[in-house]
Amino acid sequence: MIDVENLNVTFKSGNALMHAVRDVSFFVEEGETFGIVGESGSGKSSVLRAIAGLIESTHSKLSINGKPTSARQARENSRLMQMVFQDPYGSLHPRHTVDSILREALIIHSIDNQDKCILKAIADVGLGVEHRYRYPHQLSGGQRQRVAIARALILSPPILLLDEPTSALDVSVQAEILNLLGRLRESYSLTNILVSHDLAVVAHLCSRIAVMQFGRIVEVISAEDLRRGKTKEAYTAELIFASRGFSRVS
């Protein structure tokens, strides 16, 4: 479904060049949830943004359902895939209420029963009607993140690109969101790419997980092997060790 071959992303700031993504290749099947973990700054968000067509990239292939992503119109793209950004504050319009943030996509795609859709989307992510007319700054961090998830889900797109979708959620709300994503995958074979720092979260939801460091995928590991600690790369083993918690002796 999602086919990425030799993806490269470079950024220019001032006269410095930064090669953020280096020769990244992977394939995600329809209905699969593919995970990406790795070092902070290793290029995970850049991979998602390149797939969504939000930043420039070079590649030998970047296609969805066999069709190059760049050949599509923005409107068609937004029906096909939605992205939940790592930084919910930056991605929600500060002067729009939750209601108008959610309504926007419904208007663009002329969808009926907008109020019903909005109420369902709010309830699906565990928010209440009292949040419907609030502005982003009147919500807690986790409530904002759930608005971003609700906005991505409201069009029921076949593909979701999720960048740290539960990092601001307590484990009880996280459990509800992960269960929701699991149910959607069952009910309409939703395809996901999930970026997370939480190995337990990726192992729970994903079948295969790419481990990134310095812009490259150093290893693709199955959830089973991750659980059993059957790693090929030392870096992956380090991540597993570090996720056991903080240790005062060093």
Partner: protein, 278 residues
């Protein structure tokens, strides 16, 4: 631990609006010594609001009342904004939950950290630059020289979070409220940042309030934990004993966390009980 740095009694924060009043914090009382106090709890339970109220940063139209809030024995209630300016930064500070929102979007990272340095420590330009670079390096930024010259939108999520931590720590505060400071960091970098915070508490006697959703981190890193729900502190326990917590909410929280070692089809969810807020 015996020495009390921060004493909060009966703190209430509410947000009035035409659609009714939100009671974000209800009768919260706790003390903090030179230790690591963890705060966990449901999204929207009032953790950030409580942190902001302690630092006099409640946005309008929020209303803060308390029987007592003291810091090093000094009363913090009813202070003027000029008073707060003197206290915040050098003596008490907060790492905010949304780093990109809290950083100045049109100022280079290095200058922002350097500015904090100059304002709070009175050091000169070059010394400020040296300290800023050293701090970026301490929070494990791979190439401090490059990042020093970047704008906030050019940073990855975790780099922004570490820039924010660097900016707060460079002022050497006595009290740090860290709101989800490591949520965007991979686990190895997270442990390095925790090591820095740990050393500041141990060696410099800093008081640390550590707000986090990560139960593994909180229970392995903190000394004590407060559990919040619906604006109330439901229970307090020793960090090491979190897994034997008594309150049904805390028990449900622990059960809802996915595990790396055990496969589950569905995660347990919490059945919320209105009785908990009585």
């Amino acid at each position: 631990m015996s020495e009390i740095l921060l004493d909060v009694q009966d703190l209430n924060v509410s947000f009035p609006s035409q659609r009714g009043t939100t009671k974000a914090v209800r009768n919260a009382s706790f003390t903090l010594g030179r230790e690591r106090l963890g705060i966990v709890g449901e999204s929207g339970s009032g953790k950030s609001t409580m942190g902001r109220a302690i630092l006099g940063l409640t946005p309008s139209p929020g209303i803060v009342t308390a029987k007592k809030i003291t810091f090093n024995g000094e009363n913090l209630l009813g202070r003027s904004e000029a008073d707060w300016q003197l206290l915040r930064g050098r003596r008490m500070t907060m790492v905010m939950q949304d780093p990109k929102y809290s950083l100045n979007p049109v100022m280079k990272i290095g200058h922002q950290i350097g500015e904090t340095c100059r304002l709070n420590l009175g050091v000169t330009g070059q010394e400020a630059q040296r300290r800023s670079l050293a701090m970026l390096d301490a929070v494990k930024i791979r190439d401090p020289d490059r990042v020093y010259n970047l704008y906030p939108h050019e940073l990855s999520g975790g780099m922004g979070q570490r820039a924010m931590i660097a900016m707060m720590l460079v002022a050497e505060p006595d009290l740090l409220i860290a709101d989800e400071p490591t949520s965007a960091l991979d686990v190895t970098v997270q442990n390095e940042v925790l090591r820095i915070l740990d050393a500041l508490v141990r060696d410099r006697g800093m008081g640390l309030i550590f707000i986090s959703h990560n139960l593994t981190v909180v229970s392995s890193f903190c000394d004590r934990i407060l559990v919040m729900y619906g604006g109330k502190i439901l229970e307090e326990c020793k960090a090491k004993e979190l897994h034997h917590a008594k309150h049904p909410y805390t028990q449900a929280l622990i059960a809802a966390a996915p595990s790396l070692y055990e496969r589950r089809a569905e995660l347990a969810t919490v059945v919320r009980n209105p009785e908990w807020l009585k």
